[in-house]
């Protein structure tokens, strides 16, 4: 089920009404049923995958809880890893690796007999796999007690607001919340509804409108001028931010209404002053997952410099692969890893250069702005690989911009003038809101305003969604991961 579907418009109020009418001890059952229904609205048979992950990790958790030493728990951790990563590999990566090997073997005229198989990627498999893995790893480490209530554990794996695109919640944070009593809290409900409203605005008014332009240009980059390619790439940077952070806001808002706190997933990432800071603001739940379960176990930065850089590169390549089974994603991840390594390796040099070139106080005042500008454009460059279907297409886009050709078409041509103008207005609204949030804090600054002003803002957002939103049912980009 999509958040931006009519189905969800009916689903959510019904679930909320039933949720608050249900006695506390049975709320988990209602939410579990609702979550399975939410997921089954795509494909019923894929519920079996979630159930399989749930069953294996539940059993693994219980068995690990019976054993005192890590060594004794290890086989159960391996079982969990094997089953979860095995399912993920089979459904997401098998064809990718098979095709890659096929191409490699073809180079040497060697027969490669493993076929690809025609299967639809289960929506959100990467998200719930990582969520459930975090549980078994924490139980293995002894930081999480095994969950004995199967129903509540199943709910932790499948909680519908964040099931298909996160935030990827840790068991230590989310599981205890299912045991607390959650009555209706008006302030929480208002706060959640506000967040959902902003999420829908970002998704329907900004992301999906920009998608019209971006999709048209990236469908055939050779048919467009340099300026159009550049604008499409800028638009994509905003589109993917609004698409994914919009989803996160709706998810967090929905959970908040019911009384659950999900972790913040985006913190105005394009205001970051470095790539390292960017990853502290973008898809925070995934970045911290990789930090805790891949980067630190690899040794983190408590190793030799060379090994440290290698660790960073490994984490980012794996993160790229997590996003999609294609070389474009691998390259995108490697590029970000490369940025980080380069930034770390050149810290002293950059400081010295900056000191020599711009020792004036005015230059120091400009430095944060320059850092934001540079970081944003490094991220933008990497987005080309993320958006393109193939590496060749990404290079076509980059060369199309670099070998600057005079425009043969109006800049607005791919989406039409009206759409183009609406896109620019939507981006302007987004920037203003992000600036206000960054400077004064989003919700707090809103609550300080007089009631009529607040209402005017709510009506403006609501009617902007209805009047200027795209209701074509465009999927959330991160669903494919």
């Amino acid at each position: 089920m999509l958040f931006n579907s009519l189905h969800f418009v009916f689903f959510l109020p019904v679930v909320l009404a039933l949720y608050f009418a249900t006695p506390a001890r049975w709320k988990w059952a209602l939410l579990l049923g609702a979550s399975y229904y939410f997921y089954a609205a795509w494909r019923v048979e894929y519920l079996l995958l979630i159930m399989a992950s749930t069953g294996v990790d539940y059993a693994a958790g219980i068995q690990m809880g019976k054993r005192d030493s890590r060594k004794a728990r290890r086989p159960w951790l391996f079982l969990s890893l094997l089953v979860n990563l095995g399912l993920l590999f089979t459904f997401k990566y098998l064809n990718f690796f098979s095709e890659t090997f096929q191409a490699a073997f073809d180079q040497f005229n060697v027969f490669y007999g493993i076929p690809t198989f025609d299967v639809l990627l289960p929506v959100g498999i990467s998200f719930y796999t990582f969520q459930t893995l975090s549980y078994t790893i924490e139980v293995y480490r002894g930081k999480q007690k095994p969950e004995r209530h199967l129903g509540i554990f199943a709910l932790y794996v499948s909680f519908f607001p964040q099931l298909v695109a996160g935030p990827i919640e840790r068991s230590t944070r989310l599981l205890p919340q299912f045991f607390r009593k959650h009555g209706f809290d008006l302030e929480r409900a208002r706060s959640g509804a506000r967040l959902m409203l902003w999420g829908f605005f970002k998704k329907l008014v900004v992301a999906d409108r920009l998608a019209v332009y971006v999709n048209e240009v990236y469908a055939d980059p050779t048919a467009h001028s340099s300026a159009t390619l550049l604008v499409a790439t800028y638009f994509f940077a905003v589109q993917i931010y609004c698409d994914f952070s919009g989803y996160s806001d709706i998810a967090i808002g929905t959970a908040r209404i019911m009384g659950y706190d999900l972790m913040e997933n985006f913190r105005r990432p394009y205001f970051a002053r470095s790539i390292r800071e960017f990853w502290g603001r973008w898809h925070i739940s995934l970045s911290t997952w990789f930090r805790d379960y891949v980067y630190i176990p690899l040794g983190g930065n408590r190793v030799s410099k060379g090994r440290w850089y290698a660790n960073l590169l490994i984490v980012f390549v794996v993160s790229g692969l997590w996003h999609g089974a294609a070389w474009t994603f691998v390259f995108w991840g490697a590029l970000h890893g490369g940025y980080l390594v380069l930034a770390l390796a050149s810290t002293d040099l950059r400081e010295r250069l900056w000191g020599r070139l711009c020792g004036l106080p005015a230059a120091d005042a400009l430095r944060p702005g320059l850092a934001v500008f540079t970081t944003f454009h490094l991220v933008l460059f990497a987005w080309v690989f993320f958006r393109a279907e193939t590496l060749r297409e990404a290079i076509t886009v980059i060369l199309g911009v670099v070998r600057w050709q005079p425009a043969t078409e109006a800049l607005s041509a791919p989406s039409g003038l009206w759409n183009f103008r609406l896109s620019l207005v939507a981006i302007a609204v987004l920037v203003v809101v992000d600036l206000v949030q960054s400077r004064w804090g989003g919700e707090r600054s809103l609550l300080r305003m007089p009631l009529p002003v607040r209402w005017a803002i709510y009506y403006a957002a609501l009617f902007a969604i209805l009047m200027f939103g795209e209701f074509g049912g465009e999927d959330f980009i991160y669903f494919q991961f």
């Binding site: 009617f463 009047m467 939103g469």
Partner: protein, 333 residues
């Protein structure tokens, strides 16, 4: 406890006030939107439905069906005639329209129902593409009543919010307002293409594209629901029963098509089935089927806007011919 109750009461009042102000805003925006409809078709249908709703006693002749029903020009009929052609309309929608509108029209005497070559093999629900549900949404947008077509709640809600959630995202309103402020006219454009006369070769080319598209869609719909012709036959029987029950004289008609459209369609096996079903229905229910598809107009490109739609001159000409025969069947009603 009392404080909590007072807080809840205040919150409820605030929520009610928020909804009330929202409703007022909605109505204001809807009024503005209706004054500048997204397309010329919307303008035409809005005006005609306005007649049906505001002066139901005046409606004596009603023309329904898909865009082929537009071959009848109500301006060439007596006062009290309304034609409601909805593009790609299927029989489930036509049935819904009859059920929604006919009880509101006490003076209705004659109903003309357009039957196209694809009428019995067409159901918008049975196609993956949602674009064909546009006309269903348009009907909900311009007509009174809250009933669904075959339980299609999504189209109903989309239709009822059509004037806020417009397909042109308010471009029409913006340009309409700009034009008014600039002192220009606010001509929605109507169906201007129907004013033109096209060369025979262009019409033949159009026939090739149109027949290919229609036959492909029909095939997909039948693949989804092999029972479709039988179900549609029952729907048409239901429509006729409903109208006859209200004392209305029913006439089925098929307008003239361009010769190339006919030539290409003759190869489609569904055409024979359509003819057999319509003739059988005509005989069993005593309802005339006036089939003008092969009328001599077919050979004269001056009457056509495209291969299966008459232009405004063709409409006028055909309306005169048809109404003469309708008069024979329905008498002085």
């Amino acid at each position: 406890m009392r404080r909590v109750a007072a807080m809840n009461r205040a919150a409820l009042l605030q929520a009610a006030a928020f909804l009330l102000v929202g409703a007022v805003l909605w109505m204001g925006l809807e009024g503005l939107s209706r004054a500048h409809p997204p397309t010329g078709w919307d303008q035409v249908l809005l005006d005609r439905m306005d007649t049906v709703v505001s002066a139901p006693d005046s409606v004596r002749v009603l023309v329904i069906g898909n865009s082929h029903a537009g071959a009848i020009d109500p301006d060439d009929l007596d006062r009290g005639s309304v034609a409601l052609p909805f593009p790609w309309n299927d029989l489930a929608e036509a049935e819904h329209q009859v059920r929604t509108l006919v009880p509101r029209l006490p003076e209705l005497r004659v109903a003309l129902v357009a039957v196209s070559f694809f009428t019995f093999h067409w159901a918008n629900d049975d196609l993956e593409s949602e674009s064909l549900l546009d006309s269903r949404e348009r009907f909900h947008a311009v007509s009174p009543g809250w009933g669904t077509v075959e339980g299609d709640l999504e189209s109903l809600l989309r239709g009822k919010s059509y004037w806020i959630v417009r397909p042109d995202h308010w471009l029409g309103v913006a340009s309409g307002l700009a034009s008014e402020l600039g002192g220009g006219s606010d001509d929605a454009g109507d169906d201007g293409f129907r004013d033109e006369v096209r060369p025979d070769s262009a019409l033949a080319r159009h026939a090739g594209e149109r027949v290919t598209t229609t036959v492909r869609r029909k095939r997909e719909m039948i693949a989804q629901n092999p029972d479709l012709p039988r179900e549609n036959h029952e729907r048409l029987v239901g429509i006729i029963d409903e109208l006859q029950g209200a004392g209305v004289c029913v006439v089925l008609f098929t307008p003239p098509y361009h010769w190339r459209y006919l030539e290409l369609y003759e190869a489609a096996p569904s055409l024979a089935e359509m003819r057999a079903l319509t003739s059988g229905l005509s005989d069993s229910l005593g309802v005339p089927w006036l089939d003008y598809s092969h009328h001599p107009m077919s050979r004269e490109p001056i009457w056509f806007a495209d291969s299966d739609h008459l232009n405004i001159h063709g409409d006028s000409h055909f309306t005169g011919i048809l109404m003469e025969e309708v008069g024979d069947w329905c008498g002085s009603r």
